[in-house]
């Protein structure tokens, strides 16, 4: 670029969706958080490869709760996509609020089901390396879900105040990336902890 680039031009101001710094920022968060799950699963498989006790304890974990719960979390992501596309981008408050509320609700259901699943386990976090790994991996994920739900609740309150319209709704775009990430991580965790043991 040279002197010719120096021209007066119309530029948007402030926080605009994918042009906002926060949009770039949340991707750095996603990258570093994804890395922590990579290392977590590395630890899980490393311990699995070295284990001489039963791994997993009691055979592959049941899908009775975890299977439907996975679908619930995916539905939550879908609700959020709808809230953003049909609500936020078109300044439709009803769609935005109901989509956020639905995503939030489904997320809460996921947490409740997950806690129930934990209670039903015959082993604890102190039961050998498998017990420790299972609860720490799913616990890390559950902590992320709870952070994500706090985020969705905050977005809901802001949307309720009328902070967003078709031009200004970067927090929705940014928050959605985080929530979808939390859901995507669950798919990986679910595959590693629930499906992979069935392969052998």
């Amino acid at each position: 670029m040279s002197e010719s680039a120096l021209r007066e031009q119309m530029l948007p101001i402030g926080s605009f969706g994918r042009k906002s710094s926060g949009w770039y920022g949340v991707w750095t968060l996603v990258v570093t958080e994804a890395a922590i799950f990579v290392y977590l699963l590395f630890s899980y498989f490393y311990l699995a490869s070295q284990a001489n006790a039963e791994w997993p304890i009691g055979g592959a974990p049941s899908l009775a709760l975890a299977g439907p719960n996975t679908l619930i979390l995916l539905a939550s992501s879908a609700a959020l996509i709808w809230a953003e596309r049909s609500g936020a981008r078109r300044s439709k408050r009803v769609q935005l609020l109901s989509g956020l509320a639905l995503a939030l609700l489904l997320g809460v259901v996921f947490v409740i089901v997950q806690l129930r699943e934990w209670r039903g386990k015959a082993f604890s976090i102190r039961s050998g390396t498998y017990g420790s790994s299972y609860f720490v991996v799913t616990g890390f994920h559950l902590a992320h879900v709870i952070v994500g739900l706090t985020l969705l609740l905050t977005l809901f309150i802001w949307a309720l105040r009328g902070d967003f319209d078709a031009q200004r709704h970067a927090p929705i775009t940014i928050g959605a990336i985080y929530w979808h990430f939390v859901d995507a991580v669950w798919l990986v965790v679910f595959t590693a902890l629930y499906l992979v043991p069935r392969l052998g």
Partner: protein, 648 residues
């Protein structure tokens, strides 16, 4: 003065054409007094704070080292108990590697990035303040263990089972684990900030082939940190859980794997080594050419070498574990990968030598530090190749040879460029020159002291002296060498003292510097010294790598420095596109805020609660942190985050 509009046509003005400076000064100035100290988000203040705090830790770690050297000056000395010695070498390592070497480079980059990139601040000014406050609090947290006599004592890489509950029941290791997790947050948000700043806040025309090498170095380090820090954070979380919640990750009796710690630690540790040297190499690549009166030879190869070093650096962690009984195939692979790193290192080395060779060197203090660094880099590199070769490593592991190697790497590649960097940019930061005369004394004392102190460690290591022993028996032939090492380390410390004297004297009585005392080529030298709060009166347009040397290099490009974008409707800077750096958006920047400090303190309460095993305090910490985040992220009209009333 409404920042609530949605778009605006940018104005191009010549600096001085309209009187904007005082107006901008009022917009960007940090409030005076304590309020300003606690709430400032000015990257220049934060950068200098980072450097000063890191130097305080350097001095603390240095004093620890000197006490150890007294203990080792002769066989069978009893100055320190074994327990005190263990705490000292652990704290020395932790301090130098985590609280000095990384943060000091963050300081340089925080101060310099917006100036090098042609911007008014980093992409996330408040995050910048946050990363500093967390760094400070994490350092204080760790050092609180010292007066209590319970400092970490299992070495800076803290291997279990020694660091497990059975062998280390006190709170010592918990200080290490929590301190490192806490500090990791600082490193991570800092890295995110550098990355986004690079992607978004370059001046128009600053395409990636025009970035200063320091920017390449810090960028590479930041990406590395984002990917590597989680490994050590996780390792610390797992070990903390083992110690406090009865999990079995590293517990041998329950088939836990102590080696898992080593894997996670070095998956982080080796990229971290590059994170604390690559920006320092960047300092050399940017500052050395100024004193050779020519551009860096081989800009593109050096930039590529920087990036490729880090990429390969993710695949070499096992060379820290050669002696743990790995399969031969892994040994071969990781040894080969480690040796491959010599290629990019050699590329940079030859580029620096060629720059000096074909230039007209000016023998100033910064030049002495930067050029002597090349010698130390080569020595540290050669001993690195030796330890990277498996058979030799079996012999050298855990001897003083490794201690010599890592000190040549860390002091040679970090401290020497940092010293050169301070002499180089001190005029920019303060408006005054440092004393050349004192600088020469400073350099020669440090250089001779360092080599006298650390080179003999290679020899005593080859003679078989293990590291981390608090004393040794007479008659092993180690006494004289150790005495020389101790004398050298004290001479090195005198060099640091001379530096501090120079700093103090020059701050008051240094010769006024002017904007460009060294006749440097890059953007930071185009603004006054010290730099005004708003950095650039108008956002410049960059056309080459050397905006200030274009005429003498007779290059056809012409950057526009005094004529540029006028942004004065509040704290504003220009966002540009990722690849081509075309103007894309006007960023509304946050002003001074207590948010970062509040958030850091909330986290501090959490970590204090955890070390005290106090549930209530931990919960209070979490709630305070959450509230601080909420307050921070609350959408603001001034930042253009809220819908405008005129929209339906």
């Amino acid at each position: 003065m409404s920042a609530t509009e949605e778009n605006r046509t940018t104005r191009i003005v010549r600096e001085g054409e309209v009187t904007i400076d005082r107006h901008l000064e009022a917009i960007w100035k940090t409030r005076p007094g304590l309020r300003g100290v606690l709430s400032s988000v000015d990257h220049k203040r934060i950068g200098i704070r980072y450097i000063v705090t890191a130097f305080v830790f350097l001095i603390a770690g240095g004093v620890e080292a000197l006490i150890m050297r007294l203990q080792l000056a002769h066989s069978d000395l009893k100055i320190l108990s074994p327990e005190a010695y263990n705490q000292l070498f652990t704290m020395h390592g932790f301090t130098m590697i985590f609280l000095y070497a990384g943060p000091v480079l963050s300081g340089f980059s925080n101060y310099l990035w917006p100036l090098l990139l042609g911007s008014r601040d980093m992409a996330f000014p408040r995050l910048n303040a946050l990363s500093y406050w967390i760094f400070l609090l994490a350092g204080i947290f760790l050092y609180a263990s010292f007066p209590l006599g319970v400092s970490p004592d299992a070495g800076w890489f803290n291997y279990p089972p020694l660091s497990g509950k059975d062998y280390n029941p006190g709170p010592n290791i918990d200080f290490y684990l929590l301190g490192l997790i806490f500090l990791g947050i600082s490193t991570t948000v800092g890295a995110a900030n550098f990355l986004v700043s690079l992607l978004r806040t370059r001046a128009p025309g600053m395409s990636i082939n025009r970035l200063p090498i320091l920017v390449w170095g810090t960028l590479t380090a930041s990406v590395g940190n984002l990917l590597a820090v989680p490994a050590v954070t996780l390792a610390c979380v797992l070990l903390f859980a083992d110690r406090q919640f009865g999990t079995h990750f590293f517990d041998v009796e329950a088939h836990g794997q102590p080696l898992l710690w080593q894997h996670l630690f070095w998956m982080f540790g080796h990229p971290w080594v590059y994170a604390i040297v690559l920006p320092a190499l960047g300092i050399v690549s940017d500052a050395l050419p100024t004193f050779c009166r020519r551009p860096l030879v081989g800009y593109t190869p050096v930039a590529l070498a920087t990036v490729s070093t880090m990429i390969v650096g993710f695949g070499v962690w096992l060379h820290h574990m050669f002696a743990t009984g790995m399969p031969v195939l892994s040994l071969a692979f990781f040894s080969a990968a480690s040796l491959v790193i010599t290629i990019p290192s050699a590329v940079s080395t030859f580029a620096w030598i060629a720059t000096i060779w074909t230039g007209k060197p000016v023998l100033t203090t910064p030049f002495l530090f930067l050029s002597s660094f090349i010698i130390l880099f080569v020595i540290g590199g050669v001993s690195g190749v030796m330890t990277g070769a498996v058979p030799l490593d079996f012999q050298l592991t855990d001897t003083y040879f490794v201690v010599a190697h890592l000190h040549y790497v860390l002091i040679g590649i970090n401290v020497f460029p940092v010293m050169g960097g301070i002499y180089y940019w001190f005029p920019k930061m303060t408006g005054r020159m440092m004393s050349e005369r004192l600088g020469r004394w400073n350099f020669w004392t440090m250089f001779l002291g360092f080599n006298i102190g650390f080179f003999p460690m290679h020899i005593v290591g080859l003679m078989g002296m293990p590291r981390r022993i608090y004393t040794y028996a007479p008659g092993l032939g180690w006494d004289t060498i150790n005495l020389i090492t101790t004398l050298g380390s004290f001479a090195f410390a005198v060099g640091i003292l001379l530096f501090l004297i120079n700093l103090t004297v020059s701050l008051r009585r240094g010769i006024p510097a002017g904007a460009n005392p060294w006749d440097g080529p890059t953007l930071e030298w185009s603004v006054p010294s010290p730099v005004p709060a708003y950095n650039f009166a108008v956002i410049p347009v960059v056309a080459s790598r050397h905006p200030l040397w274009e005429e003498r290099l007779e290059s056809p490009e012409r950057s526009s420095l005094s004529r540029g974008y006028l942004l004065n409707h509040g704290r504003e800077t220009l966002a540009t596109t990722v690849l081509d750096a075309e103007p894309d958006l006007i960023l509304e920047m946050p002003g001074d805020s207590y948010g970062p400090l509040a958030l850091a303190l909330g986290l501090g309460v959490l970590f204090v609660g955890l070390i005290l095993h106090s549930g209530p305090w931990a919960v209070i910490g979490i709630l305070a942190t959450a509230l601080a985040i909420l307050f921070w992220l609350w959408p603001q009209r001034r930042l253009g985050q809220i819908a405008e009333p005129h929209h339906v």
